[in-house]
Amino acid sequence: MKFAGKTDNYAATQNACNLCSPLGAALVFKGVSNCVPLLHGSQGCSTYIRRYMISHFKEPMDIACSNFGEHTAIFGGGANIKLAIDNIRSQYSPELIGIATTCLSETIGDDVPMFIRSYKEECEDKENLPALVHVSTPSYQGTHMQGFHGAVRALVETLAEAAETGDKPLLNLFPGMVSPSDLRLLKEIAADFGMEPVLIPDYSDTLNGPLWTEYQRIPEGGTTIEAIKSTGGAAASLECGMILAGEPETAGTWLDKKFSVPAHRIGLPIGIRETDKMMDILAEVSGNPIPDKYLGQRGRLLDAMVDGHKHLNGVKAALFGEEDLVAGLAAFCSEIGVIPALCATGGGAGRFEKTIKSVVPERIHRKMEIMEDVDFVTIEKALEKTGVDLLIGHSKGYAMSRRLKTPLLRVGFPVHDRVNGSRTLHLGYRGAQQLFDRIVNKIIEIKQDRSDVGYTYM
């Protein structure tokens, strides 16, 4: 099938490479302990988002909805939101309800903060009232990433206090939208530096947990409200994402301004340099040297990179997906000789090209095409011309991969057609090791399969 590419009057988005903002917010709220996300809009919003995330995480995904009806759209959603909070409380007894708006409730002009205030005032058992955190996520603004970062910021802004620190110095970690395995890794690293990490969000257990003995209304795990409160007293914040770092108002900058918690803003720690940067910051903040364990991991990674370098140098890859992930992957590719010949995202922060160019050596720039705010049809059109050896991105690139007969290495979100989306590691030396092994092996496999000889030594 031939696709219509972008033309001057290009109006439709075909096979989008991004999702809507309430999804990102809902995911963040799933990473808070004893929290139920509530979407203020139509029933379909929560059902579609649940289904989409279940297919990736393969875990129960309760997301409530205020279930707009015609009446609600005319008279406003105030009554629905209050009823929804009541019903969530009586079924789930949550400590926090994370309320994200939708295109519908935003367009009719619902004043959710006012609804929340009046709910609190009218509430009869104020002691048992869960925390209510609101984030504005109109689906016509930004992508799921704006919803994600917006919800992180809303949690901090609503809950953070100027807390006393305990024995261990606190480290606020704003990891971005990464996998449960990545989240575990970050917590482990912070702990190894002798710090107490507060990870927002932390869905490593809530969305990648074991089987249950008894049904859990809200899956165990997640960042506690106490921990979120304590972020105001942390020694530092580490905020991951190069695109995010260009955002003037984030959880990290807010804490810096409000409580003078210094914000260290780096890219997603993918590959050697960005992980090194993270390690240096942690060493500085904690006052402890980089643990030997990580020097070992780094050493083994470099050794593997040398062993495999000939397979990769000059290999062309197309990277697509969420902006910060693509930026991280582009940086790593540049460290191992893979040319990020096409970097594409559905996001539209406006800093993509500059960011990508900043992590790729200048001599490579002319070999690259960088595309922001694009859909898969546009990406595929470009790839028909360019031609690459490998696609690196999420599952929605599979149809394109099949038509172009170019293998797809699955990373990020969503991974709907493999079982290990939650367990894919991207971050740190270990994540780089896994990515490296997967990329090299894929290239070897291609060579091997296309060879007439069938070598058994490669």
């Binding site: 096979n15 029933q43 579609y48 649940r50 409530a64 707009f68 969530i88 603004q141 003995t213 049904y215």
Partner: protein, 453 residues
Amino acid sequence: MSSIPILKSREAQIHTKGEKPFDMTCGKHSVAGSVSQRACVFCGSRVVLYPIADALHLIHGPIGCAAYTWDIRGALSSGPQLHRLSFSTDLRERDVIFGGEKKLEAALDELIDHYKPKAAFVYSTCIVGIIGDDVAAVCRKIEAKKGIPVLPVHSEGFKGTKKDGYKAACDALFKLVGKGSTEGVSPISINILGEFNIGGEAWLIKEYYERMGVQVVSVMTGDGRVDQIGKSHGAALNVVQCSGALTFLAEMMKEEYGTPYIRVSYIGIDDMAKSLYDVAARFPDNPEIMERTRKIVREEVEAILPELNEIRKDLEGKKAAIYVGGAFKAFSLIKALNYLGMKVVLVGSQTGNKEDYKTLQEMCDDGTIILDDANPLELSKYIIEKDADLFIGGVKERPIAFKMGIGFCDHNHERKIPLAGFRGMLAFAREVHTSVTSPVWQFCPARLGNKEK
């Protein structure tokens, strides 16, 4: 497991057979704050029209609705694959302020020129009515310009339930009916309605009817084509599967064209056979049709029986829970499970009506839980209490079953294997068997507890 509370406002939608007089409350808008497994009006329209493979499906609204329904179903096409792409006007903030009509018009213009579809469906999402776009006017304009039907689908998410979405889809479909010539349509002919060709099911069913000597004029909407729908009014009979989705269209065709309709189900041996016999009985002047039907049923059943009997040995006495979209499918599933020696301990649907629930409770044993518009907490509460070995539902129910160590069979539109027809019954049995007899359950903590009790 009493720790899972039931909302007061939901109690009238949950019944235990035999406990008190049966009177199910249903057809209600979902309770705010309850995590309904239902979707919205848009979803109802989208599932019905989705399989029409030579039409353009343009979703007018912000990106989410299109992104979440891109290539979402296992509905196969023997030709064009246009339905598997996702098209959206991707409304942004300025469109919301200044209106989306221009963008819609440009999008239709461009997409129709490029893909040359036989028709275009334009789905309205939640905010379209609110920002005041006159979608119908844009559709009329483009229709005149391009010379193909361009049909607005009034599917704003909040304007009712999924069922209203079915109706909106049927309204759009009905505008296509009668557009074509009925030349070549046999007096012995049917339309297959409410069969979506998941995993190729419609192909199986169509083949049975054709072997009987009955012409199939159109399938709505599995492997659907605009031209076939256009001449569907020439068929002698509408054969409607599924609880509600296409019944609206059958009613409209009955009124406008006098086409009678019957309701059938292709799930399970009994209902599949009955679907063929019921159609044969509508052509009494041609007794050879009934003759052939008997032969087909005999041959098809003989072909699957030996393996079914083997499977049954392993499944005998196991307990199943069913939660599906339409109640009509639940009827067939109960029979199919009974055929495999299994006992149904929970049954529920998203969109059943009073009659449906009455039938369901008549089919069930005492103690069976019957639910309307259930949520994850209710479903988990009862599958655990009833110690089910198998849960039949869709993707949203799967993790509930798995966390508690219970086998699962996907019977929703996202599955990739045919579960209808005789061969579909065998595939269903294999699916159930594969999940229920897996050795992994022996390690699941929740099931260990139940076994010790």
